[in-house]
Symmetry: C2
Amino acid sequence: MGDLKLVKKFEVTDGFWGRYEKLVKDVVLPYQENALNDRIEGAEKSHCIENFRMAAEKLRTGQCDGEFYGMVFQDSDVAKWLEGAAYSLAQNPDPELEKRCDEIIELIGIAQHEDGYLNTYFTVKEPYKRWTNLHEAHELYCAGHMIEAAVAYAECTGKSRLLEIMCGMADHIYRHFIEEGAEGYPGHPEIELALMRLFRCTKEEKYKELALHFINVRGVDSEYYKKEKGRNSWSVWGSNADDKEYNQCMEPVRMQKKAVGHAVRAVYLYTGMADAAMETGDTTLTDACKTLWNNITQSRMYVTGAIGSAYEGEAFTKDYHLPNDTAYAETCAAIGLIFFANKMLYLERDRKYVDEMERALYNCVLAGMQLDGTRFFYVNPLEALPGISGEAQTHKHALPVRPKWFACACCPPNVARLLSSVAEYAWHLLPGKLFSNLFIGGTLDLGDVFGGKITLETAYPYDNKITYRFAPEGETMSVPLAIRIPAWSVDTVICLNGKPVSYEMEESGYAFLNRDFSASDVLTVELSMPVRKVYTCNKVSANTGKAAIQRGPLIYCAEGVDNADDVLSLSLKKDGAVTVSEFLPDKLFGIQEIYAEGYRETVNDALYSYEAPAEEECRITLIPYYAWGNRGLNQMRVWMPEKK
Amino acid sequence: MGDLKLVKKFEVTDGFWGRYEKLVKDVVLPYQENALNDRIEGAEKSHCIENFRMAAEKLRTGQCDGEFYGMVFQDSDVAKWLEGAAYSLAQNPDPELEKRCDEIIELIGIAQHEDGYLNTYFTVKEPYKRWTNLHEAHELYCAGHMIEAAVAYAECTGKSRLLEIMCGMADHIYRHFIEEGAEGYPGHPEIELALMRLFRCTKEEKYKELALHFINVRGVDSEYYKKEKGRNSWSVWGSNADDKEYNQCMEPVRMQKKAVGHAVRAVYLYTGMADAAMETGDTTLTDACKTLWNNITQSRMYVTGAIGSAYEGEAFTKDYHLPNDTAYAETCAAIGLIFFANKMLYLERDRKYVDEMERALYNCVLAGMQLDGTRFFYVNPLEALPGISGEAQTHKHALPVRPKWFACACCPPNVARLLSSVAEYAWHLLPGKLFSNLFIGGTLDLGDVFGGKITLETAYPYDNKITYRFAPEGETMSVPLAIRIPAWSVDTVICLNGKPVSYEMEESGYAFLNRDFSASDVLTVELSMPVRKVYTCNKVSANTGKAAIQRGPLIYCAEGVDNADDVLSLSLKKDGAVTVSEFLPDKLFGIQEIYAEGYRETVNDALYSYEAPAEEECRITLIPYYAWGNRGLNQMRVWMPEKK
């Protein structure tokens, strides 16, 4: 269990996530399919499918017209889209979509060399340079994403063609790096976590061996990229082979204590490490993963679950450096943090992994996509300043409104595949325990394990009540149910049929009930979900004297459009009242607003003045962070000064 | 008047500035002389003098050993040092120093081509590329600085050899750009302001014409650098010729409304424009200067007088973008702002120009140099965060301690020349009025104008009392004295011989007394100099909810070393008491500390928490900003949260 097979076992009927699932199916996947096929006017060209067509033509005929277009890792966009489509098909059968997927997979098969090698950049553009530039050329990265797609497509549709193709590529990689002893490790980690998935799907030990190989050799020869560059007459971007932190290869991975470098690369690597640690029981690898997890979540993570403080290198920087307006906070990095958390949870049962997973999911990842599913943020700042954001030299990356598509389009399909597989993160099944992690309405069919189905009903994240119902095949079903109690829920009430029920509150943060449930049983969990103010450790310069607003898993923000076009003049009133609106179904696709007592300062004309600006009490309107930037260009702020 | 001739008329005896003048003479100039001669161990190599030796040898013999070393504008370091030495010689005759200056000037003369051309980079390294790369190669910039040195050396020592040399170079430039009609304008402005000085010193109209030429053609053909690049097979740095804002050439200078691009280039250009506007009475140029001045001081200037918000391009960014920890805030840019202010004052008599000049001088510029005169900041952030500052990718430029010397050593000699000519900015003499602008103790000998000397006594900037005494040659001297009353001094008391005296408070912010003074007269000005809290217009995101501390012209800051190694946990108490210490002669070469009532929060271990950190009242110790970073690596903060 645990490798995205629950997507098939858990039927999502949730209001909140159901909308996203439908959006992915009806809008995001079709939109991205059009993008991959260059059918969207005014958007950046993708050329992804065309690259595969050209590679296929070249392998068939020895030549092809036109030129490869796009990033060296352009293939991975197709892979991520296919993976998202697979999850969507598992939940919502769609023969037309499946047929188009199958056609793309056929095309991919034709674009594969006889020796198993698959990569359109090299096939079309650089046929003699395979495996000569691990530092920059993303061959293993693209392979990894296509392996993930292959596993997902096989598990969700039962069709194994892509799996065969990618086993062929994985075997090719094995021959090259293990049997032929080629040196090196991937510039962009991804293959490690993908090979672990392929291993579990196929039970083929050599894929685990290959994953471990890449993990084990990384950073042992920390000069590898330099040597490779010395041998090479070509470069993709002229990347600096001396910047070892960027590639997480300054030392062997088991020695690494700080999350450094390119944030997506880092968390993809750590995900593979955690997965390998689980499969091997390697405690040194487990310890390294815990150390890196703690470093991220205790000193390098935004309150939205975003990671990566700097545009430069799209990277982690230093402990406690978390600027709000210039944050990089890439959507893909938050997704990678969710992957990492998900694997850590298998290493150590602790709600903290789910709490942070939920933080990243409900805030940074959702913010990555416009609510209508057609535009995307690559970068998710915690403060938007029209006139500066997206315009100043220092803020070119931090756009205040979402563009349609990107030349480097890693994030949109990554969001699609995560949102369409969110069910997978909701439940974990380990021997002897079923873990209810994320509160997503739907029906879990684990008849083979527990002799019945479990239905979860909720209006979470806006409502605090989680209801479990049971549909035993016989009289009752015995379920060892461990329910995550989020750290922010300090007074949780759990009732069976309206009466408090006894349960074991585990140190790990799970409420454990091991009992027989009948069809009439109604188990309810009422989380305490008041509006909370959040404070940052005051080693973080950007947030001193400030507070943010959170309710349940949702971080809130103030936007100009709700606050007289000026949120910089606002401050929260310490111990001021905060109230929650009714659910507003027509606002931003359904949200609850929060109103906080605060102050509004008059704006001085002078840049500097000796008089404190006059202030008057006011009501600050806040919306969930994930919904920001959906109403045109305006200011946005998560952290606001707090005053008595 | 007004071209640094007051350096010879005003003998500085001031305690505060006297120390700096002595420091420049005894430490800074000798240190920099050693640096220019590569005699300082462990510092970046300069090679400046050696470049001139090589150029001289090559012109004498047709060849030279070795290679040019350093920046393309390396010559300008010698020029700025000579200019500083000239001012120092005016105040403190030193035959040995003057002899060494004369020797360097002789060397410069030998390094000059017969046609007047002077530039060691081109002479030694690129003899066939003269004037082919105005965008990057700094020929006009170097010429400008050497012209400034020549004017200063002539005025301060009476020796005209360097002036002859540089008139030769200026004539050469005139022939090339005016008579031969060469296209283009300097990548780094400086020649404009220098030619205006040369014009006033020599009365040679063609130098003014040449200055105006460069001002007038700038940005008219905004594509000039692109065309030049198209013609060129060489480049110094591969600079982007499309970035017109960087070079202030996106449109003709009279059309420019926002201060953009490289901050030093910008203010050097504006200084030349203001000077030309004064000499020509060109109101369109005057208006452009006022617009640019207002844009800088009303939305793009730090409270320390620093300018340039971004490392990228060492540049201005957008209105109200003033980050504290990543500020570029180059010392040279603040110096340039002082030059600009000084010229604006001739265009428009208004104390605001002096107020901002004083702000930049007493805060940013002084902070650029270690108190012992041996180390320098290029970048002057308003917040230093050990572990992040100087280390994170985003903060590599923002060092928390001063290094010895820089590969690009523009700032240290620029500080030296400003500090040794500060007397020049203290007084302005216009027909019918003597303006007392900066309060620097010393004796002004204007016997030829007023028939006597004026002595100013003060312990400013720490004491609020300014005393003027008079030494008429006859019974009395008639002085039309306009004394600047800084905007922060709201209740100023002016007395003659201990009794309030009547004066005209001009709208321009000057107190004007036009009367006869006798030898027994004592005129005192008592400025009101309480500790003030400063607030930033809340369009500036970085400073919302925060206040800074100012007293007189001095901006204060809190350093870790005075505050339990943690200033990020501190906040100022709104309406809390602020007190000033006695003058502490042994602390940081003599300062007054400020103690502010405030709060210290406990530091949470958790990155995010739902409980507001506990806080207790505390006393915050602040020191003048200019003195920060003199006691090792530690935190520093100018803007602190303010709480009730």
